[in-house]
């Protein structure tokens, strides 16, 4: 089947099997390998991307379901050489170690801060509860999101 998507603002089309998972379209057909795979039951969130601005787990969706829609991956966060405040926050607050869960955490948080620009710590923790991190113990991920929230507020 032919699937047409816009990824990080660029239009792509590909001839795919109907069963191809969206994450495989992104990683293998389009070679955007920042989106990761960490499980097979939709629990870990390493494959989180934005589909029309909403965070979804791309391992749990077929590529053809994304036909005609806009996808943002971690590679699309940096704009004109300027990092997204969440990317800066994760670096500043040591919010990552092995880096494997990081793209998913970033994408979930991008959508979350749009919906809830002034979150409490509890709200932040609930917002990333669909993303597993095995390295950081989450403390510094929470700080990274708070760092970005403050920066986005200041810039507004």
């Amino acid at each position: 089947m032919l699937v047409k998507v816009a990824i990080n603002g660029e239009k792509h089309e590909a001839e795919v099997e109907p069963r191809l998972l969206l994450v495989h379209l992104i990683r293998e057909n389009l070679r955007l390998t920042g989106t990761h795979i960490g499980c097979d039951t939709s629990h870990c969130g390493a494959c989180t991307i934005l589909l029309d601005g909403r965070p979804i787990k791309s391992c749990t969706m077929f590529a053809v379901q994304a036909h005609g829609r806009e996808i943002t991956t971690v590679e699309g966060l940096e704009q004109d050489g300027k990092l997204h405040p969440l990317q800066e926050g994760f670096m500043a607050e040591h919010g990552l170690q092995c880096g494997y869960c990081t793209p998913g955490m970033l994408m979930t948080s991008v959508a979350f801060l749009k919906k809830n620009p002034k979150p409490t710590e509890d709200e932040i923790r609930r917002s990333i509860s669909g993303n597993l991190c095995r390295c950081t113990g989450y403390v510094n991920i929470v700080k990274a999101i708070q760092h970005a929230a403050a920066k986005l507020q200041g810039g507004a």
């Binding site: 040591h94 990552l96 170690q97 095995r134 950081t136 113990g137």
Partner: protein, 788 residues
């Protein structure tokens, strides 16, 4: 430790931002599954639904008829090359692919080679295997009963399921101490089977070039050099010699020990690439990862502790059944079958101790050890910290006061333990006092007494652990005879920038940053000017890899020693440039100056340039050094953790209200990274304490084989950790550092378990095995008649 360098140089003690992060936050890391090679094939694995069964027939005809499926590889195929079995590090054997029977659920049965990931999976579903189920042995106690089915029928003379018996310590002295004791306590403690579940699973791409006979393997491995040697030793007979093998360990998405072993999937991928001459990718999925890869713990412990009336501890006696699954494949390089379990006297000055461990075969996956822990030290710490707590409660003494009384005292270091270890340094009372002050211990005890009057369940738990890391001195450790040194090779470029390569391999610990800081400290070259590389056996010096918190104690020491060799040569060059005698020069990080004439100085950058342009006659050009460091002793990080829990009487849920962790890992290289390591370690201590367990039903079906029922803590369950530290340098490490990556995983579970038991002791509860789940607590409360 006072800072010796400016923030711009970024030596030890500076929270330098990580060099790794710019690529990771852009999604530009390179993990194994990100690598695609031209013409690459995909491997997927058929796995057994039975825990113990004869393989009667494997019919691949339907699979090979699927478009894209090229071959189905079975044990019979590998047997032609004698590659169907492989040796383990523990002098045992394990199957690569079975010829006769399978020994655990999810064991590899056959492998499908195909042109795409999806075709390979189709092939796996189409392979038809006929099994004849055999009696299953799950319980290690039953495995030792007379008449139990003998599992290792491949071993001709094997008549039972007993692997080995090991004992250590003075039995007569220990037994006498128990006879003479005023008080003894005894407890059965089970530490269940768990899994590291790094978010990246395991996998590889094996790429055999038929023309030049070279095998390159991109691999999720924590120990690339050791893997290269193992491959050469195991497959030398089929032409894979060590100079023709290159292991590349790229970015690794978490290791925690799970990426040390050689799994059958790697070996099959290598065999498939050698046979086809094409690159072959094998990436396991999460269920394969949880169900078949190396586990940790699974120790059935009976412990006894003896004391005098006045509360002085005298002796410890332990008997343990170690469930190893169907093969002893523990990634344990120590000379002891139970690893470093005999550090179980912990932080206490016990005069006598005796430990016995028996290894047992069962119908479970092989492995052991891997879970962010230095070879059974978590089992040791959990046992002694639970037992000390039980004894304190039994005597009616405050557990903090009881620990203070029995600690090894600062003036006793270096301290020889009853089981023979030489602890390098410690101030256990200092760490516990700081934890008590931070948490407000006395006030919490008052609050607990008041709540208890009202029937509320609140507990305070302490764990004052001593770790044993930095494998290791070659008298205690080797891998196939390889001494467990590690290495650093430094090259200073003419413009004063540098590259440093190591035999270790970071999996998230931040080596690119912290190693650069060690060089910055020792040479005064800014950390930002130093490129650190690891993980490619064609370029890095030989080393034994990263696990058991050994990178800082061993490779970090090598970095210091190599830097000092460079400094020695730099001194001679500086003397030549300054026309002074080498011994008249004074070093401060980054420059040599003439004693008494500080303006007559040469920076390390000027010296580096001269090393290539204007070095003294008779001296070789260049400014390079390499060090292979075999540590004289292990290091002994320690700490005291205090956990406060509230228990919901309606649901049995344990809520960690506060958790204060005071760690002492000696001198600190990067405080930000150390704190991050402690945060992560604490969360991997919380996990087995409250959530994670891999158990099996009576016919060997795995319970906990996916993220649906193997519960990793999310940000919601994880408390807001409160961390701090004391600093007691290691006297034998060149930087005074000790290692910290695993301390918190080792120390935290006992603090949590002790807090829960502390909340319930007055109801008659003495011990609860981890994981302390709501149903377990609720049933206890129901039995005591206190559920709501």
């Amino acid at each position: 430790m006072a800072l010796r360098t400016s923030p711009e140089v970024g030596g030890m003690g500076h929270s330098v931002k990580r060099k790794e992060d710019p690529r990771f936050i852009r999604g530009k890391g390179t993990y194994v599954d990100d690598v695609v090679l031209p013409g690459m094939l995909y491997l997927d694995i058929v796995r057994s639904p039975f825990a113990h069964a004869k393989i009667k027939k494997i019919d691949a005809s339907k699979a090979t008829a699927i478009p894209g499926v090229l071959a189905v590889i079975t044990g019979q195929d590998l047997a032609k090359y004698n590659l169907h079995w492989m040796p383990t590090l523990m002098s045992d054997t394990q199957m690569v692919l079975p010829v006769e029977k399978v020994m655990y659920q999810a064991q590899e049965v056959a492998a499908v080679l195909a042109t795409s990931r999806y075709a390979a999976a189709d092939g796996v579903a189409a392979v038809e295997v006929e099994y004849e189920p055999l009696p299953v042995v799950v319980d290690p106690k039953k495995a030792l009963e007379p008449g139990a089915p003998v599992l290792r029928t491949d071993k001709k003379d094997k008549k039972d399921n007993h692997i080995w018996h090991w004992e250590w310590g003075n039995k007569a002295d220990t037994d006498r101490a128990f006879t003479e004791a005023d008080v003894t306590v005894k407890e059965d403690i089970y530490i269940p089977r768990i899994h590291v579940a790094s978010i990246e699973t395991c996998g590889c791409i094996a790429d055999f070039d038929k023309v030049n006979g070279k095998l390159t393997v991109w691999m999720t491995t924590q120990a690339p050099h050791a893997i290269r040697t193992v491959f050469a030793l195991v497959a030398g007979h089929v032409g894979l010699e060590e100079h023709k093998i290159r292991i590349i360990s790229p970015d690794i998405g978490g290791g925690f020990g799970g990426k040390v072993p050689v799994y059958p999937g790697y070996v099959i991928a290598v065999a498939a690439s050698v046979l086809t001459g094409k690159p072959v990718k094998w990436i396991e999925d999460r269920m394969e990862n949880l169900q078949a890869d190396s586990f940790a713990r699974d120790y059935h412990i009976t412990a006894e502790l003896a004391a005098k009336k006045d509360g002085t501890l005298t002796a410890l006696r332990i008997k343990t059944l170690a469930d190893h699954g169907y093969a002893d494949a523990a990634a344990n390089p120590s000379k002891f079958p139970a690893g470093l379990f005999h550090v179980c006297t912990g932080s206490y000055d016990l005069k006598a101790a005796h430990v016995e461990v028996d290894g047992v075969y069962t119908n479970k996956p092989p492995g052991g050890i891997a879970y962010r822990c230095s070879f059974r030290v978590t089992e040791a710490v959990h046992t002694i910290e639970r037992m000390v707590d039980i004894m304190a409660h039994q005597l009616g003494t405050d557990p903090a006061e009881f620990r203070m009384k029995n600690f090894v005292k600062p003036e006793q270091f270096p301290y020889k333990s009853a089981l023979g270890w030489e602890y390098d340094s410690g101030n256990y009372g200092g760490a516990l006092r700081k934890a008590m002050d931070t948490v407000g211990y006395a006030e919490l005890r008052r609050e607990q007494a008041e709540k208890r009057k009202r029937g509320e369940l609140m507990g305070i738990g302490i764990s004052s652990f001593t770790e044993i890391v930095g494998a290791g001195p070659s008298k205690h450790f080797d891998i196939l005879g390889l001494k467990m040194f590690d290495s650093c090779e430094i090259r200073i470029h003419p413009t004063g920038k540098a590259i440093a390569r190591f035999g270790t391999k970071s999996q998230g610990q931040g080596h690119e940053t912290t190693y650069a800081q060690i060089l910055a400290e020792e040479l005064g070259i800014p950390a930002k000017d130093i490129q650190v590389e690891e993980g490619d056996t064609d370029t890095a010096p030989y080393g034994l890899g990263t696990y058991a918190s050994r990178s800082t104690p061993v490779a970090g020491a090598a970095a210091a020693m190599a830097s000092r060799k460079i400094q020695d040569k730099a001194r001679k060059i500086a003397a030549h440039l300054l026309e002074a005698a080498p011994e008249d020069l004074v070093w401060e990080p980054g420059k040599f100056s003439v004693k008494g004439a500080p303006n007559r100085a040469k920076t390390i950058q000027e010296i580096a340039f001269a090393a290539y342009t204007n070095h003294p006659q008779g001296m070789e050009a260049g400014l390079e050094a390499v060090s292979y460091y075999d540590p004289p002793n292990l290091t002994y990080p320690f700490g005291s953790y205090i956990c406060v829990v509230d228990i919901d009487k309606g649901t049995g849920e344990v809520k960690v209200r506060r958790f204060v962790a005071i760690d002492d890992c000696g001198n600190i290289i990067n405080p930000m990274i150390v704190q991050g390591q402690v945060h992560g370690g604490l969360t991997m201590g919380l996990a087995p304490a409250l959530f994670e367990e891999i158990s099996y039903d009576e016919i060997g079906n795995i319970q906990g084989g996916s993220f649906i029922d193997y519960l990793l803590p999310t940000a919601v369950e994880t408390p807001k950790w409160e961390t701090g530290h004391t600093v007691t340098p290691s006297p034998h490490h060149p930087l005074g550092a000790k290692g910290v990556g695993e301390s918190a995983t080792v120390g935290a579970p006992a603090a949590i378990a002790n807090a829960v038991v502390d909340a319930l002791w007055h109801l008659g509860v003495r011990h609860i095995d981890i994981p302390i789940t709501p149903p377990k607590v609720w049933r206890l409360l129901r039995d005591k008649g206190v559920t709501e």
